[in-house]
Symmetry: C3
């Protein structure tokens, strides 16, 4: 029976290369279920950017429910569409709606695609831990210092990446072999993007610009990857993120500039991941009740070990982090001082299932117009079960 | 051409068992289109929990648009992700967004998975009709008495199920053979969950607890399934569900406890499904303008017949139901008295398509702070076309 | 290992025809990334219905991110589910949520399905350019004159289509062969639908009715398709789309009636597409501050040329359009006068990727209660990269 709409007919076109649709397009995903209330010492200790289910009235929660549709359609054309099903539209009291994380396509600029341009919403090449998938990362949440640069790690724009073919293979191997790589964002990356972060409309007439240089070096049996990255742009606060009487610039627009250094030693079996960044951006100042342009700085170091016991894998780790500065995506560009130490283990009994248990000691000051003087200290046990399909 | 991101590379890992992705992961779904305005005698007769397109200004509507991604990844690992595409974020005037119904994975606790734990958002094992898929159920909507226990039937938590292998096969057969089974929620089920129902964040520090015992017994050529279930917990009303001047407890938190009995005779060819529950929970009291903890009780009985005419199937049915109590998920924990009789038929000319026509006589009192004294009586013809893929 | 829920078991049923799920169900899609700020002469020139990223504070944007799940399940049963991942719930400050565009199924009324009924949300058969997929259309946005009839081109209801088998093949070929067809909406179409447009609930007790007649005629080596269509109904403005002090009818309900004529010459290699419509509906009147029933009229003509250079295709085009009337879906049924000329080219180097560059000269009056006297003129370069999978 002849299929019967334009859309069906046009479906025939992409399939004309004799490939079946399920050979050209693949689907995979993962989900993370968490519980953060065991051994909790302070129910007021919270972290909006990390995980909204910390502390008082938290319970079981989904941190991520991801479904990924992707495919190498042609030697020079690749696409990647990843909605998250654990997202809530602002203003809604019910959640778990599907919202885009990635939606991009890569076009090879030369026959071997060592140069390629990526169009759409994708990760901004700023920070190794930002680019590393949450499916791969050991600590449950990204560090405050670099993740505060780009909420949800992504933005909408055009990015150019370059890497030699051999390095592209190595970058892929660093993920596929369980070495917790970042994925392939090239040796050299350069991009132009809106700058308001994922799924938010542009609010000013200027674009952000980012550049990154990073190289995975073989040193004996080890692989290290030093990297540098920086971005600059103008960030405009959304009217809906301001407290009623906070003072701010009339156009709500502030400089937003950062630079970061990265060092990675991949875990064979002992691993190090360390990053530090500094810059400036909007930050709430409690002494003036206003949002001002202020300096920010901070970083973290994660030590890890990879142990294989038969088919099972264990990755014990410890991370210390520090951050001093504003978070432009939060209410009134909330001001933070963060010191945190985490000790935990990821256990993979099967490639389909992982369990992370992690103990966190944290001291956090987080102040906006409505929470001036808010300093919280405490510790908690955090648990995550992850399903990979 | 080497695929080029971390996520692609990690995709390779789950596929390493030599299975293609489309062998490990399957997709199916269904959609329901309704029209409820024929032979309508009272346009003010409505039922928020049943179907929002009853009565005045109703028209064609989708009740459900489901897409299910699922797979048995390993003898001990199964996952199930089911968004509904007929959902509206609270506060939005446009609808048909994708929102999670189920998102869970099962881990076999022993080699044969007769014991398994289910993590994520899934159906709470409370009530046979609640667990039975809407794709299977004969009456268009679930009964008020037991469905008011858990809006959307689901919650986020951890559940343990046990059933012998032979019974698991029987439970699967009761669905696959057209006998309108509930699916496999074990013989014994036990769970801990947030208690605010699907897609709503926890609002208090206590978890709900549920237990269920149910056994499908072969009696001659018939199968019957008696069952018992109960849950207890604290339910916290959301601030957005309260009328401006209604009185309520300061912490908006109320006991939420129910117990129910179930009896099923599977339709070979004559079927019975009867359930009754009682308990207590929040309910609006018009005489005090306040939300109080009050008793609730009610149940239903459905009689059905299964007729096969060639490839076609017919399921004529009649259901009577009764409910007296509050609905904690609705405005001001709206107070209800419901008596309803329904007569209808499901017709399946093909496995891909079903049509239900059903005539409903209903008497409903539904009162919140804004609708005190609201009693409606009437009847209407209800039509549903369902596509299964 | 036996799969373990009702839903799994019932999945077995549709698969029982020996077909694997991926043979019965297919997935495809496309995405469009835009940038509209180059050579812009007037940042206040905007077009809500066309593309919200025109003008001041626009940046990179997604116009569409589509994923389509569809299948011919049986000679007489076809389904089509198409969410868009670039949608924003009203009131949310974050976007790119998944919202349904199409969700329908076709049931063949005779063995050859030359007569079929389509149930669910689908395109209203009113206007060739409205029915033509955005994946196929040359100008980046649809014309104001006919597209203002049905926002998002779709509504929820029941439609009957008739076409002889040979014409159904021709309609499919007009898409698959790159001739920019509309898809198969039959030679004769008739429908009943809510009338509030896609993803909006019915707001009154009357249904809209539409009829269409269109025939693709072979004339020598050319194919032409003349067509006629008309609809009538009552449209009710949503309370949320009214300015605070605008005057309107007490029930917010207005007649909504249009008729249109279409002429198509498919591009072998020179193409013409011309449509004109007139009718009446709600429109804001600045001289009375009120929303009144007023006449509307307008149309457009697109001239195109199809050039093949090896595997590559080029479609240069020019479109002129005119519209005078209200837009019922916008604030206060905003009043418009539109004159616009567009010149551009679509370039398809591969079937997976298309680039459109288009220069637009526009003069637009768009007035609601808050923007009285708003007339904007200007020109801009518009760019779109499209990925097809």
């Amino acid at each position: 029976q002849q299929a019967d709409t334009a859309r069906q007919a046009s479906a025939a076109a992409p399939a004309a290369s004799k490939k079946e649709w399920f050979e050209a397009v693949s689907i995979r995903g993962y989900m993370q279920v968490r519980y953060n209330r065991l051994l909790e010492t302070n129910a007021q200790l919270k972290c909006e950017q990390c995980d909204r289910s910390w502390g008082a009235n938290g319970g079981f929660s989904f941190r991520r429910i991801r479904l990924i549709v992707f495919g190498q359609l042609h030697p020079r054309v690749y696409f990647y569409l990843q909605p998250d099903f654990a997202s809530t539209p602002s203003g809604s009291s019910t959640g778990q709606f599907a919202q885009v994380r990635d939606a991009y396509f890569d076009l090879g600029l030369n026959a071997t695609s060592t140069w390629r341009v990526r169009l759409g919403q994708s990760k901004v090449p700023y920070g190794f831990e930002n680019m590393q998938s949450s499916q791969q990362r050991l600590p449950l949440d990204r560090n405050d210092a670099l993740n505060s640069a780009v909420a949800n790690e992504r933005d909408l724009g055009a990015f150019v990446y370059w890497a030699p073919a051999a390095i592209r293979k190595r970058l892929a191997m660093l993920v596929s072999e369980g070495l917790k790589g970042s994925g392939d964002y090239g040796v050299l990356g350069f991009g132009v993007f809106n700058g308001q972060a994922a799924n938010r409309s542009e609010l000013n007439n200027g674009q952000h610009v980012v550049a990154r240089l990073s190289y995975p070096l073989q040193v004996g049996r080890q692989i290290i990857e030093p990297g540098l990255q920086a971005y600059t742009g103008q960030y405009t606060l959304g009217a809906e993120q301001l407290s009623a009487r906070v003072k701010a610039r009339p156009d709500l627009t502030y400089p937003d500039q950062r630079a970061a250094a990265t060092f990675v030693l991949y875990p064979q079996p002992f691993g190090i991941l360390a990053e530090y960044n500094l810059g400036r951006g909007p930050e709430f100042n409690a002494s003036t009740d206003s949002i001002e342009t202020r300096r920010l700085h901070g970083g973290y170091a994660t030590l890890s070990y990879r142990a294989r016991v038969g088919q099972q894998q264990f990755y014990p780790f410890v991370r210390g982090q520090y951050y001093q500065g504003g978070k432009k995506h939060e209410r009134d560009a909330r001001s933070y001082s963060v010191r945190e130490l985490e000790v935990g283990t990821e256990w993979q009994p099967l490639k389909f299932f992982e369990l992370v248990a992690m103990y966190t000691w944290s001291a956090r000051r987080f102040e906006d117009f409505q929470t001036q003087g808010n300093r919280q200290r405490g510790s908690l046990l955090r648990l995550q079960a992850q399903l990979n399909f």
